[in-house]
């Protein structure tokens, strides 16, 4: 394990890249999930059909394949567009960071669509009716009555998706994102110790997923703080 000592800085830099992709993808996936859930709950029939296809496709396709479609697809499309303006252009691509964040967030967004929709419907209808009867405006009903209940129902599923997202960031190394897998590859070419380096990567991910699941347990405890037993 002594071989690791010279690479701590590089692994730390790679870890920051993972955290950055994760943060961007998490925000994006919440946007897709909220939009999908809203569309499925209140949208016209055609929009519901579109969202159903989105959810089915992105839940049933391997994350790696989604990533490859986004990265190479965007590259071909952008190169085609660039050639219209400048025929000498050989190859244009979007950075692996953004292609990757978009791809893994679209997958998580498909799961979150169903999680958020279920949470919206899971709010006790009696409390909604009472709030309306008391004369609360629709926005007040949503933020004061429905949202606190949704939060409680959606948190466990949301937490699982957040942990999946962290693990999915490892895939983006396949299209050239310079994160911890890339650091490990560099370190291996020098030290010839693949086991040491990949195990180090595994423990970095384990630390990140443990941190997130700890934070989620705290959030769940907070969401349920006014609940009586049962």
């Amino acid at each position: 394990m002594g071989a690791l000592s010279g690479w701590i800085d590089d692994f730390l830099a790679g870890t920051l890249v993972i955290v950055a992709v994760f943060a961007v993808a998490l925000v994006m996936s919440v946007v897709w999930g909220l939009a999908g859930a809203a569309g499925k709950l209140f949208g016209p029939r055609w929009l519901k059909a579109v969202i159903r296809v989105y959810v089915t496709v992105f839940r049933g396709t391997p994350e790696l394949l989604v990533l490859l479609i986004f990265y190479f697809g965007a590259a071909v499309t952008l190169t085609g567009i660039a050639k219209i303006f400048d025929p000498d252009v050989k190859f244009v691509d979007i950075p692996p960071f953004w292609a990757g964040a978009l791809a893994i967030s679209m997958v998580a967004g498909a799961y979150l669509t169903e999680i958020f929709r279920g949470a919206f419907l899971g709010a006790d209808p009696g409390t909604i009716d009472s709030a309306k009867a008391l004369g609360l405006k629709p926005l007040q009903v949503f933020f004061l009555v429905r949202f606190p209940q949704m939060w409680r129902i959606a948190l466990p599923g949301f937490g699982n998706q957040a942990i999946s997202l962290i693990k999915d960031t490892a895939l983006i190394s396949v299209v050239g994102l310079e994160e911890v897998m890339f650091t490990a590859d560099m370190a291996i070419s020098v030290t010839q110790e693949p086991f040491t380096m990949y195990i180090a990567v595994a423990f970095i991910y384990l630390a990140l997923t443990s941190l997130v699941s700890f934070a989620l347990r705290r959030a769940e405890a907070r969401a349920n703080r006014y609940r009586t037993a049962g």
Partner: protein
Amino acid sequence: MGLDLGLILDSLPRLLDGIGITLAILFASLAGGLAIGTLVCAALHAKGLVLPRLARAYVTFFRGTPALVQLFVVYYGLAQFEFVRESPLWILLRDPFWCCVLTFSMNSGAYNAEIMRGALSGVPSGPLEAARAMGMRRWPCFRTITLPLALRLGLPPYGNEAVSMLKTTALASTVTLMDLTGVARTLVAQTYAPYEIFISAAIVYLAMAWVIEQGIGGLERRVGRWAE
């Protein structure tokens, strides 16, 4: 820049060549995952302090790290040790196919152990206490009461796990295997038509996921046929 339908039709037969390896990895890993899951679940419930803690650490590690990293540790990592290279198991461990099966089985085993633990703890205690009170011994009790009830609770999450395992097999393409994704990546490198080929591959995965869901759904109806 429309989709080239002819290219999709041409690439489908070649993509279908990759399905064999994808299915072989999938079924071997599901079988291995069930075996490992059963052992780890038994260890989680074992008496004493050491075994349950080891099992808990196993589950935490395999659920908390990416399958891609686990695969690289096994396929590229183990070769670092001379005793591995000189052991008789090296014939299997230098073969990317068996590395995938080993890694995915261990990964699936961790998830299965949790599914089994959850299903067992969800079995109501009433019928069990009644049977014990009537003098049934532990094993018949487990086999005829706990197991069927736990199966009914565990099948829905197991269906999700099986679909998730299908998606995990796509990682085989990162260790040189020519599974469905591997063939697709080679075809894209040759034709430079990522949309047509990757989307065709995605459709094949969707079809396979659908078959798995239908199969598990049928099983669920069968084990649930006495439920009110």
